[in-house]
Amino acid sequence: MTGFLLRRLLGLVLMLVAASVVVFAVMNVLPGDPALLMLGTGATRTTLAALRHQMGLDLPLWQQYLRWAGGLLRGDFGISYTYQTPVAGLILARLGVTLPLAAMSIVLSVGIALPVGVFAATHQGKAADAALMGAAQLGVAVPNFWFGLLLILLFAVHLGWLPATGFPGWSGGLLPGLAALLMPALSLALPQAAILARVTRSAVIEAAGEDYVRTARAKGLTARAAIWGHALPNALIPVVTIMGFQFSYLLAGTVVIENVFTLPGMGRLLFQAIAGRDLITVQDIVVLLTGSVIVVNTLVDLAYAAIDPRLALADMTGRGGEA
């Protein structure tokens, strides 16, 4: 287990260094100059030169990279070109929106997908199964931003139950904050739940045919108890694998959904920072996202071990086992 973790840690560091170099290079190859964006169409040669000097953009590229990467090592994320405040503070404030949003949509998506998937599996071939899987097919096909707009039209404009857009901040209390995040979380969760429900259904159907489920039934368990107690736990590996993949889609989804709902989250910060050539902020966020995707993938691998102890054993005895 320790060897496994150490290898993962080394991989994480190498990936982060690679990500930092790539994103720095890409942002600097992109045409556009943050100083010019600040000055707009009234810019003159002298004001542009003065501002570039002030922002440190007149330094050679390698110095700019070392300045930034060195800062990261010391935990200093640098100063945003656009907002002129520390990036760490910006990101921290945005995480207060994006993390609850992501958590809510994962809970919603699992909360919807598992019951639906198991129900469809136990009613395989019946009308309810066909209807649920048809709905799931639709859920996969509908883009989340469009679904989000439909939710706004229904719950904000038509019914007036929830705020259309924006985020009041957690200082206004837990409920208004959760209310603002509910529709965005649902828009993110539904397409994911649709995929997850289909995977759950096929995994449960497969597991339900296994000997141990038949044995459980023979021992006198009800069909329901046998499915939930024995088939589902064994069906979880493909489900957890898909959830791991979905995490990176979820991050990408927040960029879109936070824009649709005008939420001040990290996705929107990234989107604005790219358009505004806020190079430092983009670089910081990309490195953070890379790190979190790697950490989540590691956690998914660890979850396999928890679900199926044979995998951890295989890893410890050096016979591979990293999925």
Partner: protein, 491 residues
């Protein structure tokens, strides 16, 4: 699913018991967030929209009629040679941090803006200044190197507001001004809240606070207005949703004018755009009314020169080159392009350019000019088109008011050079009589219509949407502003 329905119901109840908004605050929508809150350090119009006349004030200001009005300078006089302005400053004014306002601050602000290391987004406004002197704390004497007719107007721009030496460096995030409001809170990416400045020397304004919310998505902006989450949207981004908005009797729609001039900029350093006949042919080939209908839902105003109807001294030249494809073909033939030519047009993100580009390309195609359209985001547009002049044509809205001076700037990105225009511009700047200034301002527009350095399309409409009970919103605006101190709620 069973778990969600009770949760939804609980949240709906929670939303319903939030107390109704007290009637001394206002929430205003805007599409872009100001990156910083110091208009002397960034060009984004959003900075001015939040801070102008709310947090910061200038020597002069632009009023709702587009005229120069007194602000921190309550009155002024101009010397006979047209070079020396003596400003009489308002008494008893303090900055929101308690610092006293006086001529020192005027001298500091103007000298800072024109200094060698200045990063003022409109440094050109300060170029005419030769010196600033303070004979007393309440009097500022500004001497110009030559008479400059546009000077007082320039001093009313957001980039020319007066800041204090002690707070100038931190104004970007902690703005300190002399206005009726000061920064309350700023949740980046979501909203800025302004609250009354207790140290403000004038009459306390009706609104205790104003919240500016940033909503970029047109559909989201429409939903926020219809749901009552916003009281006003000064530059409403969804003209296609106006029928829906108009149907709601709680909301009011006002179509006014901005100083945005939508033009097809041509690079005269590139062939064949150096040829006057070609430029005129293009002008004849474009149906401005059709553009207005297709792109601005008919709310814009066709223009024939670089000025807008809301500006004093505007001359209507929209019919200089009436839509006439036959005439366009004839001029092209005369210019040596009987079969037209191929060109590339770059389009920045706004709809007036992206959707507009398709319309313009189709019209030019009718007379044999084959247009290749290339989409570009702003950052790249500023670098490639604006700075490096590496383009043939582009569509852009020039939003700076009364910016005819850019046609006398030989380094500007459209590379227009005309000795006749330059002479006329010098004559205008030297004129001291207001009547003569106005006449010359008209002559400048006519000269541009003749030379057609760019193809002038339409004046950008100001589509304002607000709560029918909200008073004090401007119909027209030469600069994008939300003057909160003028707003109030009807009973």
């Amino acid at each position: 699913m069973r778990a969600i329905i009770p949760a939804l119901a609980a949240l709906a109840v929670a939303a319903a018991i939030v107390p109704a908004r007290a009637k001394d605050s206002v929430s205003l929508g805007m599409t872009l967030e100001p990156p910083i809150l110091d208009p002397t350090a960034g060009a984004a119009a959003a900075i001015g929209e939040v801070t102008y006349q709310n947090i910061f004030q200038g020597l002069t200001q632009i009023d709702a009629a587009g005229q120069v009005a007194p602000s921190l300078a309550t009155s002024w006089s101009l010397s006979a040679d047209g070079k020396t302005y003596t400003f009489h400053l308002a008494h008893g004014v303090v900055f929101s941090d308690g610092e006293k306002f006086g001529c020192d601050d005027v001298k500091f602000s103007l000298d800072r803006a024109r200094a060698k290391d200045s990063v003022n987004p409109q440094k050109a406004l300060f170029a005419p200044i030769a010196s600033v002197a303070c004979p007393s704390a309440a009097t500022a004497v500004v001497t110009l190197s030559q008479p400059t007719a546009s000077f007082l107007f320039g001093m009313a721009m957001p980039a020319a507001v007066i800041v204090a030496p002690g707070s100038a460096a931190t104004n970007k995030t902690k703005p300190v001004g002399t206005g009726p409001y000061m920064l309350g809170s700023w949740v980046k990416g979501d909203h800025v809240t302004l609250v009354r400045n207790p140290k403000y020397s004038g009459k306390a304004p009706a609104m205790a606070s104003a919240t500016f919310r940033f909503i970029a998505d047109p559909a989201a902006a429409t939903a926020a207005m219809l749901a009552g989450n916003l009281d006003a949207f000064t530059l409403f981004p969804a003209p296609e949703a106006l029928p829906q908005i108009k149907a709601d009797h709680k909301l009011r729609v006002e179509i006014g004018s901005t100083s945005g001039k939508i033009i097809v900029s041509l690079n005269e350093a590139k062939k064949p755009f150096d040829n006057l006949l070609v430029r005129r042919a293009m002008a004849y080939a474009i149906d401005r009314n059709a553009y207005n209908q297709a792109v601005l839902n008919g709310y814009g105003t066709p223009i024939g020169s670089h000025d807008v109807p809301g500006d004093a001294g505007y001359v209507d030249l929209a019919n200089t080159y009436p839509y006439n494809p036959a005439k366009a073909k004839q001029l092209l033939a005369q210019a040596g392009y009987p079969n037209g030519f191929a060109m590339t047009m770059v389009l920045p993100p706004p709809a007036y350019a992206r959707r507009g580009g398709e319309v313009i390309a189709a019209m030019l195609g009718q007379v044999g000019i084959k247009v290749k359209l290339v989409d570009m985001e702003w950052a790249q547009w500023l670098a490639q088109v604006f700075t490096h002049h590496d383009y043939e044509a582009t569509i852009v809205s020039h939003v700076e008011p009364r910016d005819l001076y850019q046609y006398a700037n030989p380094h500007y990105y459209w590379n227009y050079h005309s000795a006749a225009y330059d002479a006329l511009y010098r004559k205008y700047q030297a004129a001291t009589d207001p009547g003569q200034q106005l006449a010359l301002w008209g002559d400048l527009q006519k000269q541009l219509a003749q030379d057609e350095p760019n193809i002038f399309l339409c004046a950008m409409p100001k589509i304002g949407v607000w709560n029918a009970k909200l008073r004090g919103m401007w119909k027209n605006a030469l600069i994008t502003v939300d003057i909160v101190s003028q707003m109030s709620w009807a009973k």
